[in-house]
Symmetry: C2
DNA sequence: ATGAAAGCGCTAACAG
DNA sequence: CTGTTAGCGCTTTCAT
């Protein structure tokens, strides 16, 4: 197991009867070396099973061809799409994806980010628990792209779940609901704040009374409390922070014998795996998470590949070409969401 | 973004007024240096925000403190537990986890493994699509632990799903089922072979007629065909290769108006997220996937940490101490599974 | 077109 | 206890 010493470039060069520098060129810039020599080197390298050392390359170039995806909780199905989306995009460009779970802790997250510096070329930071300032600080040391967060100067991808929730409310209003509960997510969740900001005026406009209950942890178990709270509030419908919570609400209502959607309509958010499996199937706000992941990776790679301007750029350059590469055009990309109506919503009881 | 040059050990040494080697020692072996000096160096390092270069360390030591988890498909919920289990264990020991998706392709897998060599200290290989020989070959270059696979000389963790399926069959037999369909998984799946080997004799013993249908891709969509095949075979119960497939079976039966479990019992495997959410809730073979992940990581780390015997061991050592560290005691760990009975199984129609 | 040599950041001898 | 030196594997000047 893992014993055999790996052949180095020196071995290849020796076997091919050339200098290491020639071997290096033959392998990386075949054009800048005699065709015959190049072929020979390549052949020898292949025969020896030579694989360039990533560490040596990284040490020399400062680039690791590795990107981290930093998440509060790898097991939350919501993030699966991100893992997949960023992973796919990164792989396409020959990057390696490393996964970092911060266990919902701001401290662990800050620590992770610090350690990551130097290990990776950049990171996609999703649903960060850090403050704007902390993120901005981290962004000074490590190429960062944030998902579902707005940090001035840092590129980001936003999923418009707030908009989706407004459409969910409109849907409920059209079904005759007049008293709707919003089962809110973690107090530290940036998304949750945005949604509340969007839901309140929308409710007023629609003539719907919105009762905010919570905050709840975005997990199934918390759904029981949310269901009870919605019931107690006299709501005929409940919009949950996410599908996990909505699943829990459905379970609780089922256990209580409250028919869905006859006496209570339920709407989730994210359309995670399972939303169409539960009975009744869950009406939910679908967000293109995988696309968000791809896009986040895209943004990051663009920065990374663009950072070819190694040697300290002159001051002049900094102020020039504001069009080609506008400094503060890091306006986050906003991805639209849409409401998927299933059987968990119906006319107001 | 990511501009500021990181301080190196040299910067720290200079700022502290010592030689780099002293700074190095102060930071890594505080005991072997004057306490005052050490304190000063540490203070300076902290002030400068010094972080040792992983690349340089790796280049020098040959160890990257990184372990890869290689999977055929990151999006398959079955693997979530593995991601979580290995990730948790690795993090505990200060290792970084990298995720590699081989897209269900043996070629991509072989390629990935080759590239990984040098980038990581070892890898956990789950549900490999490679042949035993290919895996054994890869294991010569990279510390490997396999999950759900038996490779002589390579440590592994096995989930006893075959045993679980036999218990599932016993459960069905006790409910009076006499004709049961097994919706088999991919032909290349090692697990599937094991299960068939276990199910056939068990069926004979139980006086149950087992009809093997398939093979099917382990995905929801394939469940429709499986359901139809089970129906056509006149079975009163179907055991599916995995929960994903079972979900599809449930959906199809629902669409066809076949009541579950009245006219058809359904059993899945893995107890993935959602198995208790579907209606009727799915009876399934639960396997401790997360534990398997932890254990796989454990085995790998044991090898890694144990591999302190750098300089080529003498031939003598190889034959000695067969007890302390038995060479071929790489007997795979077998983790027990158990049947979770839910409402998708009932008495034979 | 090719070789020799320097050096990325760090640690491990080897002096002193 | 601390400084000097060498070298991990590679790319990249700089010569030739």
């Amino acid at each position: 197991m893992a014993v055999r010493r790996q052949p180095t470039l020196r071995d290849v060069a020796a076997a091919a009867g050339v200098a290491v520098s020639t071997a290096s060129r033959a392998l990386t810039r075949p054009g800048r070396v005699n065709a015959d020599t190049a072929d020979r080197v390549v052949a020898v390298a292949k025969e020896l099973g030579y694989i360039p050392s990533a560490s040596a390359r990284a040490l020399l170039s400062g680039r690791t061809a590795t990107v981290a995806l930093v998440l509060p909780d790898v097991t939350n199905p919501f993030f699966f799409g991100l893992v997949r989306g960023t992973g796919a995009r990164l792989r396409e460009s020959g990057y390696v994806q490393v996964l970092a779970d911060t266990e919902e802790s701001a401290e662990v997250e800050a620590d992770t980010l610090r350690k990551l510096r130097g290990q990776v070329d950049g990171a996609v930071l999703a649903a960060s628990r850090l403050s704007d300032e902390q993120i901005a600080a981290a962004a000074a040391d490590l190429a960062l792209v944030v998902v579902n967060r707005t940090i001035p100067g840092t590129p980001g991808v936003l999923l418009d779940t707030a908009g989706g929730m407004v459409r969910a409310l409109e849907h409920l209003a059209s079904l005759g609901h007049r008293r709707v509960a919003y089962a809110s997510g973690p107090a530290t969740s940036w998304s949750d704040g945005r949604r509340r900001e969007a839901l309140l005026p929308a409710a007023a406009r629609l003539g719907v009374e919105l009762v905010v209950v919570g905050p709840y942890a975005p997990v199934r178990q918390a759904g029981a409390q949310a269901a009870d709270a919605a019931l107690a509030a006299g709501a005929t419908a409940v919009v949950a922070f996410n599908d996990l919570l909505a699943f829990g609400v459905l379970e609780r209502l089922d256990a209580l014998g409250v028919p869905v959607p006859e006496r209570m309509s339920v709407i989730g958010c994210d359309d995670i795996f399972g939303a169409d499996l539960v009975r009744p199937a869950l009406t939910t706000v679908e967000s293109p998470v995988e696309r968000a992941g791809r896009m986040a990776a895209d943004l990051l790679l663009a920065r990374l590949e663009g950072d070819q301007t190694d040697d300290e750029p002159t001051g002049a350059d900094l102020d020039d070409e504001p069009l080609a590469h506008p400094r503060d055009a890091a306006d986050p990309v906003l991805l639209p969401t849409h409401l998927v109506v299933r059987s968990s919503t119906g006319a107001a009881g």
